[in-house]
Amino acid sequence: MAEIQLDHIIKTYGKARATNDVSLTIKDKEFMVLLGPSGCGKTTLLRAIAGLEAIDSGTVTIGGRDVTNVPPRFRDIAMVFQSYAVFPHLTVWDNIAFGLRMKKLPDAEVKKRVENSAEMLRITDYLKRFPAQLSGGQRQRVAVARALAMPSGVLLMDEPLSNLDALLRLDMRAELKKLLRDAGATTVYVTHDQVEALSLGDRIAVMKQGVILQCDSPLRVYDHPVDKFVGGFIGNPPMNFLRAEGLASIGLIAPPGYDLVGIRAENLDSFTSPMSGALEASILVVEPLGSHNLITAKVGDELIKVNTRAELMPEPGSKLWLKPMPDKVRWFK
């Protein structure tokens, strides 16, 4: 049982609170993603779980055990660092075996785990090599293999894909998802890439300035963001935000107290001729993206981004009529 419980974690650096009274429960075998921009406190939280960061107040519980004052080596965790932190003076084999040997596991078991792990990450051919002889992507696999070889119930990953080039990142994301599902460990994964978060997580905790704004399944975070920041951070392109009074003309009335409406680019139906119940917009830019077009337009004085089907290629300067899908309209304060 490797449930992780974080209670009222406060960590201060100088005057700034990196984590401001953060509480979170991560279920056994759950894949939790900590998502947010730089400086939001996600890495601090991960390091607090690992025990690499001493927290000012709060408790960390792993598998029912209070580990707040326990050093990393006794917390039964395995961690993958953003820089990989592969030991340059050891071979790949010795790198993967490092943690196992520290645990004083019998040689036969060490051998079995190392070879198993190397095979899972497809680096069996490199076992005798040194890290300096490997590419960045291969070193990343070594780092993951080293963590997966450990018999621990908790896996912590700090932006493991961010140093890879875009194509490699795509491949590794899918591979990682399958691997980690098969491994069955409780995983906490830190990233600033919202696509990664949506793709990998069972739940996403969106963080900003040391606070968790929303913790939900990817679908709910995408479809029902709790505030303007979450809506604008998740999704590509970001959610459109318009003043509520602009939509009164097409019959969308804001609930009392809400003055902002959010609607995603793909949830707007577009028409090239006037349509009732649709907003009039003047087109600024048309970006053909292959599978669809991304059109930037102006409604009144506000910018709006719309996804349209690829065949629709209006001229910049011409008008477009946009109808938001009623069940996809979100209201914000």
Binding site: L52, R73, A78, F81, A85, F87, G99, M150, L156
Partner: protein, 270 residues
């Protein structure tokens, strides 16, 4: 285009002149140390000693007190290395890894001890040594050398340790190491070349150190102190041989550690 070329040429000329400034005396000493007794007085000098002769060197080495003094120099250097490494390396590690209050002041203080002219210190230290009765002794001289070498040791080791990413230690800790184990298994193997360089530099420092040696020793002199004390009386070939003998280990060691010399001026180099 022409302006650029001119500054380039001037740079190279300057560099060559500086190199010659250093190399010509060294060449002179080396050639003379391996010339015959008469050959030393040849003018103009041939590029290589002709005939090549070991007379001068063997005369030097056979002179009274020379080999014992050389031995003492080695002993002093070794003691200096041991003590300054035992104190300096942990200090370097602390400077590199821990963000403690007064860290920058500490670093500045270390550097400024080197700026302090040893000439001013010499009399008070000699007096103190005499009063304590530890005068004229390899161990107490080594202590003085430690004080001179420690700033370098601390700065070089702190640079070396800073060059080992903290990530690696943290990864080792998550894999089951205590901080000490992480240091022994991960940091030390990676820092070893740099530490070895610091050690060699300390050796050279101590081997060549003349001022404190002259002041603090009388009968148990180290080699530089011996040569200085005999400067008036010794013949020319003796001086050349002595100079070469002092120079040789330093030149050889410097060749090995030249990469790490940048760290002495604050740059972290790998």
């Amino acid at each position: 285009m022409k302006g650029l070329k001119l500054s380039r040429v001037l740079t190279y000329v300057g560099a060559v002149l500086m190199a010659l400034w250093i190399l010509v005396p060294i060449w002179l000493i080396a050639v003379s140390a391996f010339s015959t007794r008469q050959g030393i007085f040849d003018f103009p000098k041939a590029l290589l000693p002709n005939p090549f002769s070991a007379d001068t060197m063997s005369f030097f080495l056979g002179a009274t007190n020379v080999l014992p003094s050389a031995g003492r120099s080695v002993v002093v250097a070794l003691i200096t290395i041991v003590i300054s490494t035992l104190i300096g390396a942990p200090a370097g590690y602390a400077l590199a890894r821990f963000n403690f209050r007064g860290r920058d002041v500490f670093r500045l203080a270390i550097v400024s001890t080197r700026a302090f002219p040893i000439v001013i210190l010499s009399i008070p230290i000699a007096v103190a040594y005499l009063q304590l009765g530890i005068n004229d002794n390899v161990f107490s001289l080594a202590l003085m050398h430690c004080a001179l070498a420690l700033p370098f040791t601390i700065l070089v080791t702190s640079s070396v340790f800073a060059g080992v990413p903290k990530d690696l230690e943290e990864a080792a800790e998550t894999l089951g190491c205590s901080p000490l184990q992480a240091f022994m298994r991960v940091v030390l193997p990676l820092a070893l070349p740099g530490l070895a360089a610091a050690t060699l530099f300390t050796f050279v420092l101590s081997w060549n150190e003349v001022f404190a040696s002259v002041i603090l020793t009388s009968r148990n002199r180290t080699l530089p102190a011996l040569l200085v004390a005999q400067l008036d009386e010794s013949p020319l070939n003796y001086k050349y041989a002595g100079g070469f003998f002092l120079l040789a280990p330093s030149m050889v060691f410097m060749l090995f550690i030249r990469k790490y010399l940048f760290t002495l001026w604050g740059r972290v180099s790998r």
